[in-house]
């Protein structure tokens, strides 16, 4: 019983981390798309980062909406979470391996917050997915 409560608590914390990260990402991408202080290396780099930011903001908003709607209506969440987790990891690899040289907003506090919480988010979303899969399999 004690272990179950602890697992439930960890799951809730992990879900909270995911929600916090999603909110930070939406705020950051809105900033990238609108701010004048954002300084890309070149005009084409600016277009690239804006294109990817636009797509990602839509992915985060859509993913969050679909997840919240399915959770509220009591539908299966495991596949939705699995897809979102895979996409989140792929976007992380893209950013880490390729786009590090394109985006120049790391000085902003919001960007720092996103960079700091990103590993925690990836761990949390992976944990939530595995846990959800386990719960729905049982």
């Amino acid at each position: 019983m004690h272990r179950q409560i602890r697992r439930w608590f960890v799951l809730k914390i992990a879900q909270a981390v995911c929600y916090v990260f999603a909110s930070l990402v939406i705020a950051l991408f809105t900033l990238v798309l609108t701010s004048e202080t954002f300084e890309p290396r070149s005009a084409s780099a600016s277009i690239l980062s804006q294109d990817l930011s636009t797509i990602r903001i839509w992915i985060v908003v859509t993913g969050l909406s679909v997840y919240s709607w399915r959770a509220a209506s009591g539908q299966s969440l495991r596949l939705t979470l699995a897809v979102l987790t895979v996409v989140a990891w792929i976007m992380f690899f893209e950013d880490y391996l390729v786009l590090d040289n394109v985006l120049f907003v790391a000085q902003h506090p919001l960007a720092t917050a996103v960079q700091v919480t990103r590993p925690a988010f990836l761990l949390a979303v992976t944990y939530v997915t595995f846990k959800q899969w386990e719960l729905e399999e049982a």
Binding site: A82, V83, L97
Partner: protein
Amino acid sequence: MKEDDSNAESTPSKEEIDALLKDMPLFDLKSVRNTLYKRSFRFRVYWLVLMVVTLSYVMGWFSGALVPMMASSFSNLDADYQLHQLRFLIGFLMIAAGTIAINFDRHIDHMFIGIFWVQLYFHISGTLRLIRSLPDGETFSLTTYTIIQSVILLLMLGLIIEERIYQRNLYRL
């Protein structure tokens, strides 16, 4: 002499090991062909066409035929080229994951649903990049790219639908 007998008993024979491993799911390697023959004709066709398209894409990539049609050729941005390389690698990892799912005959629909959404992300962002990078009047690259990506997505959608039909029929039986 007695000691020799005990040694002989403690070492299982090859037949015994085979018999033990046969019932273990991890070692129950069903071949891709066996799984495909359990599926509908349409599922097999979709899979075969998907493999042909993938092979053509690899040949196009390594021969350099695809390079002039990529966004990096128009934007002259290293990040575009590296992004394509990374996605190319992820694409092949996804094909490998799909083949493994088919080989083990487990979670095929889940696997392809995941691959479908990742591919859709690549398709949308890739198309957007081409639209933004292409010079005015250049539509061939965009059309070719969109057709290839859409065909891949449609094939995967076909595989998911066929697998869902198969699973539903299996459940009814």
